[in-house]
């Protein structure tokens, strides 16, 4: 790495860097700033010449309980999904990182994270087919169990949680696995030779050492779940109204963009707060 000294280096640096960062500025940073501006408007300037400034979009948050209630509902959904992702995913990462070795481990790890990198909409759609009334799951259970099954899972909160856990589970497994496999085998062997039980090793050694990775995974699940709208729409039906779906409505159905901008910005503030609070954890997880 070189310190910038020659003007020629400076020019080269700017040439290499500016296209990417100008693009990001145009497509991400300016829009996010513009959203804050629009959230204080009565109307869109391109629609109404008599637009003005107002606090109403934010005040409506306090006036009607709807938005606050839905934000709370979305946050609770985030907690539930994160909880199940950890409950299911951490043991899985533990098995992958600590008991399986060699090529098998590599292949299994790839199998676990592969769905995560594939199309999330299609995966949610696949759950709609599995869960629908008289669908594959119910018929499958009927074939095995002697009594009639009516799960009625489709269009319930359970369906939304199942779909979201399916979508984000690999995140927790990925970050926990990376933290767990970085733990030196010698430490574990030392603990075992001094008589520590498997449970003690897990509780006093593996869990604390992999906690940053686990928490990083939790944040990476929680944040997008709070902002989800497609999953509740498809799997939740009547019960699928969340904070995200209300924002979606403002932009594609109700066309109240300033209110949508205000709602989006409140969500952004919540997200940034969570990311900000967890930055020390995320930083530790990366090293």
């Amino acid at each position: 790495m070189a310190e910038i000294t020659a003007p020629e280096d400076r020019r080269r640096l700017v040439t290499l860097l500016s296209p990417a960062y100008l693009w990001l500025t145009l497509a991400v940073f300016l829009p996010l700033s513009a959203m804050l501006f629009f959230s204080f408007l009565t109307d869109l300037p391109q629609d109404a010449p008599d637009w003005g400034f107002t606090l109403e979009n934010y005040l409506s948050f306090g006036e009607s309980e709807v938005y606050a209630t839905l934000l709370w509902k979305s946050l609770k959904l985030g907690v539930t999904v994160t909880f199940f992702c950890i409950l299911i995913g951490y043991p899985c990462a533990l098995v992958l990182a600590r008991t399986i070795k060699g090529r098998a481990r590599e292949t299994l790890f790839l199998l676990v994270i592969l769905p995560f990198w594939s199309n999330s909409l299609v995966r949610i759609f696949s759950w709609a087919i599995v869960l629908r009334g008289n669908g594959v799951l119910e018929r499958g259970l009927e074939a095995v169990l002697p009594w009639d099954i009516r799960l009625n899972l489709m269009f319930t909160t359970h369906a939304v949680v199942i779909g979201l856990v399916h979508s984000y589970l690999p995140y927790v497994i990925l970050t926990s696995y990376l933290a767990l496999q970085a733990i030196d085998d010698d430490i574990v062997d030392a603990a075992r030779s001094m008589g520590a039980s498997t449970l003690t090793i897990l509780r006093r050694l593996l869990l604390p050492l992999s906690l940053p990775g686990l928490l990083a995974g939790a944040v990476l699940v929680f944040v997008p779940v709070v902002g989800s709208f497609m999953e509740p729409r498809i799997l939740g039906g009547r019960h699928g109204t969340y904070y995200g779906t209300v924002i979606e409505d403002q932009f594609v159905a109700v066309y109240n963009w300033p209110l949508g901008a205000a709602l989006s910005f409140v969500l952004l503030a919540v997200v940034l707060l969570i990311l900000g609070l967890s930055t020390p954890i995320l930083r530790r997880a990366r090293t």
Binding site: M1, I4, L108, L111
Partner: protein, 261 residues
């Protein structure tokens, strides 16, 4: 007696997780070959939904648009991202940390927020909705992935190789072309595959930015699902997930995300 039991339980758990992850996808794929339009069992093999899909001009058009946008995203994001990675790797300058941190908002902020913000902003500056807007958005989302992937590969690059080439009389351009680029090529390929996948699988941002008349494939599928879905959608979805898993398989093989060691 206790020792072999625990790993056995662990393996069973892992197997269950794999079933949970893959079963719905396999069910969807199976149903795309089922003759009944209402997903009725018993299963009866048929390829009629694939034939229907191939005859559906909307699906074909959206597929071509999606692939086109993904290819364009891949080319632009890979070029800009590789250039930025090289600059971030080679030079030390004030504000470098900030530039690196700025890569995370596009990844970490929910796409719902980014997408709606883009929609508002693009309308305000006159770009509006449509394929150009979608492309601008996709490239921005793909750029951080390319930069992170290429940078990861660069971090294993030995700078003395460049210095050696310089000492032997190569100019800056030759060093880049003959020394640096060949070394980071696997990283660039992985980054390009990531960029393609980010765009090809992107739903949320496309949903807000695509013109209702000319949507991308995921947007078309979402609209179709909400109207009441048909096995035709299963067929195209099965193709999409096969393509996107295939690409990601290649990308993880090329990059260090495969969890080697």
């Amino acid at each position: 007696m206790r020792r072999p039991l625990l790993p056995l339980l662990g393996r069973a758990w892992l197997a269950l997780i794999l079933v949970f992850l893959y079963a719905p996808i396999l069910v969807m794929a199976a149903m795309s070959f089922n003759a009944s339009p209402f997903y009725q069992l018993p299963f009866e093999f048929s390829t009629r939904w694939y034939a229907d899909m191939a005859m559906n001009p909307q699906i074909i058009e959206a597929s071509l648009r999606s692939v086109g946008i993904a290819l364009a995203t891949m080319v632009i994001a890979t070029a800009l991202g590789t250039a930025a990675s090289i600059a971030l790797f080679r030079y030390d300058f004030p504000g470098k940390r900030v530039l690196q941190v700025l890569l995370f908002p596009p990844i970490a902020i929910p796409w719902l927020i980014t997408g709606t913000a883009m929609l508002i902003f693009f309308f305000a500056i006159g770009i509006g909705r449509g394929t150009p807007a979608v492309l601008i958005g996709h490239v921005a989302l793909a750029l951080p992935y390319v930069i992170v992937t290429v940078s990861a590969r660069l971090s294993s690059f030995d700078v003395t190789l460049e210095e050696a080439a310089r000492a032997l009389g190569a100019d800056a351009w030759t060093v880049l072309r003959r020394v640096t680029l060949p070394w980071i090529a696997p990283g660039i390929v992985a980054g390009a595959l990531f960029a393609f996948a980010v765009s090809f699988d992107q739903f949320v941002v496309s949903y807000f930015l695509a013109e209702p008349g000319d949507s991308t494939l995921p947007v078309l599928i979402y609209t179709a699902i909400r109207k009441g879905f048909t096995p035709e959608i299963n067929a195209i979805s099965t193709i999409i997930i096969t393509v996107s898993m295939g690409i990601m398989f290649l990308a993880t093989r090329k990059s260090s995300f495969g969890g080697s060691r």
